[in-house]
Each structure stands twice: as structure tokens, then as C-alpha cells.
């Protein structure tokens, strides 16, 4: 097993009722898409927010990531809505 540090921001933080959580993943090559699939499998609001047409963004180790971006043991994986600053 490897462990990821998940972080949530803004609307997703409120919807998921948490701002961070550890997530265990198999110790094999793993991507952002695999992490999202794992969360969507929780069903309910997780499937609703991450498994449908709603738009979200992912950052790995504080860099914007794509679905095929690899994640490594200990990575910080943040999931959040499109940004609205400025």
C-alpha cells in the first residue's frame, strides 16, 4: 500500500465535509484518474461531484494535474472547483 494526502477546497471541501484525508492506494503505477475512480466508487456526493458532468480540478504536489498525471507514495493530491479569485 501507498498513502496519498488528499485535500479539498471551497465548495468541494464543504460538500465532502472535510478539508483533508489520507487515502490508501495499491503500490502500483497509479494516476489521477485512478484516484478519482476510487472516490467515485464511494457513491453519494462523491459520485455526484466527481463522477458526473460537474467540472473540478486536480493538483498533484501543488502543480495543476491532468487525469493521466501519475501519483506517487506520499503525494499531496488536491481536488477543487475551478478557481474564482482576483
Amino acid at each position: 500500500m501507498s498513502t496519498l494526502h488528499l485535500r479539498y477546497f471551497a465548495r468541494l471541501r464543504e460538500r465532502f465535509g472535510r478539508d483533508a484525508e489520507p487515502l490508501g492506494i495499491p503500490a502500483v503505477p497509479y494516476t489521477v484518474a485512478d484516484v478519482i475512480a476510487l472516490l467515485v466508487a464511494r457513491g453519494g456526493i462523491w459520485a455526484d461531484e466527481l463522477g458526473g458532468p460537474r467540472v473540478f480540478r486536480v493538483a498533484v504536489d501543488q502543480e495543476m494535474a491532468q487525469l493521466d498525471t501519475p501519483v506517487h507514495d506520499g503525494a499531496e493530491v488536491a481536488i477543487f472547483p475551478p478557481v474564482t479569485g482576483g
Binding site: A10, A59, G85
Partner: protein
Amino acid sequence: MQREPSIRIVVQAEDFDPGQEEALLHDGDLHIGGSAAFVGRVRADGDDLLALTLEHYPGMTEKSLQALAEQAAERWQLSGVTVIHRIGRLLPGERIVLVLTASAHRQAALTACEFLIDALKTDAPFWKCEERTRGKHWVEAKAGDNNARQRWANHE
């Protein structure tokens, strides 16, 4: 001859003084011909806005602002860039953001300032939550901001 551009990135709850920042950015560099600034304020959009709360991603926010500032400084040969973004609860009329660019030439300073405020709005992890008389809700990203950002992409 050419100094390294001075880059100052600040994310803070406190207000800032655009005049003091202009003076600080200039700071005795006599080759600066001018600076351009954009100051964003909380607009009383729709007349029932009570407040905005700005959330950010500590660490990543500063890194992404630093990266945008470095990109602008290189592309427009700037002498300096200051970006200050406030977080927390802000009332209508309060300042939210300052983008300040200094250059030997006015066109470079103005264009870089416009690039930075456009890019910040789509690339830097900040989120606005509106408090209105009928409740709170998170602001949705605007297509217009993505279009404004896209204008700059051809040359990146």
C-alpha cells in the same frame, strides 16, 4: 546593467496601500520609466451582497503567483512585479487584489499588468464565497475569464 526583476508575492488578510507598493517596487531603480497597477475591489454586485470570503490553497497559491510573475517578468522584461491578494472575509468596496508591474517602457508594464490579472483569475487557487441576504454560495468560474486568459496563450 539589467538587474534581476524584483518579485514580491503576498497573500494576506490585511489591506494594502497601492501607493506604498508603487514606491517600494520603484525603490531607487532609476531605470524604471513607469509602473502599471490594477487594483480589484469587492463590487456591490446586485445590491444584496453582504460580503465575500476568499479561500486559498496555502503554498500552491503563492507558488502559482510566483510562477506567473516570473513568466511575465521574462516575457515583458520587467524590472519588478508585485502581486498582493487578500483572503478571508471582505466587505463591498474593500480592496481584494493588487497587480503592479514596473518597466523601462510603459507599454510593457501595461500589457504585463493586464496579462497577470487575467492569468491570476484562471490559474491561481483562490475561491470566492458570496454572502447575500438570501444565503451563501460559492461563485462559479466565468467563461469570460477563460477567454481573457486564452488571449495570452498563443505566445506562451
